[in-house]
Symmetry: C2
Subunit: 156 residues, 2 copies
DNA sequence: ACTATATAGTTAGAAATCAAACTAAATGGA
DNA sequence: TCCATTTAGTTTGATTTCTAACTATATAGT
């Protein structure tokens, strides 16, 4: 790949650029969401699976409000997601001993198992990816996307 | 910026990488969608605005099926979007003279005007961006995102 | 201590989207 | 020509998400 010529675009060019960027990102989100959704087991949605994964990777005991902030959804949406997961028996929601307004979310053993199984079900989807989109490329653009996400998050 | 060390990651690392990538992309899509949605005028949704923009930039006369494919939504969703835009008087949907099953979508003058106004309403959102996320960075990652989108689209 | 404000979570109602079933028209093979 | 298959668009019902209003609890200023 030839080195990028980092010439500063005009404001109009920049606007075009940002629109294209968000359009691509929107479509990728849609396509990847659908794709993974179809592969997931236990009737898990991506939102539900992501929540379980979050709790496994970063530990559980989070409050619904912090989870909502982490995934950038409203608290109402998080209420719904948690109720679905609780109904499936994959999480337990306890009252917070230190704050009567608040709750704490914990994984159950079936919840951990379900996440593992769902993850396995996603492997066939993931292993196809490197053919069309090498992991090195993913690694290259990930920092920029993080930066964009953080900026959008903090300047809301 | 230091040059990237493009060491090939292990399969497990690659999976992590892809998950992070799609999670970031999902959150950015959510955040940017909400942000632009709020700014849009005429009660336009992002889907509706994107469709008008598509027709302005690439010309109109598209069939609903091709539009659905372009935006990666189901034909049912496109039916809904087109009905909303037609109700607002921003598009006209004519029968296709060559294929009685098909239709053709055309912008109206109010539709063009609405898109222009909506675009203007988005400018204040856009001009904030370069402070946190320079356009050169957007330009750098855009080709990779296009590549990913195209791959996801064709290998569905 | 009291009151105003902020925060946690839920709920109700609206909107967008999807999958699947359906109708109508075109296409292609026997 | 005729029938099977494909394609275009719509509709239906379910699901997810949002906004906004609401209750309950905590916090901070006077």
């Amino acid at each position: 790949m030839p080195p990028k010529q980092a010439k500063t675009p005009s404001p109009a060019e920049a606007a075009e650029l940002y629109f294209s960027l968000f359009l691509e990102i929107g479509i990728i989100a849609q396509l990847s969401g659908n794709r993974f959704q179809r592969a997931l087991s236990h009737g898990l949605t991506m939102a539900q699976f992501s929540l379980l994964t979050h709790c496994i990777r970063l530990g559980d005991g989070w409050t619904p409000a912090r989870l909502a902030a982490a995934f950038q959804v409203t608290r109402g949406t998080m209420t719904n997601t948690l109720q679905k997961l609780e109904a499936k028996g994959f999480i337990r929601v306890d009252p917070d001993p230190d704050d009567a307004r608040s709750k704490r979310v914990f994984l159950t053993a079936p919840g951990r198992a379900a996440q593992e199984e769902a993850l396995k079900a996603l492997v066939p989807e993931i292993v196809q990816l490197p053919a069309g989109f090498p992991p090195t490329l993913a690694a290259e653009i990930l920092p920029a996307l993080e930066r964009l996400r953080i900026w959008l998050d903090t300047n809301r």
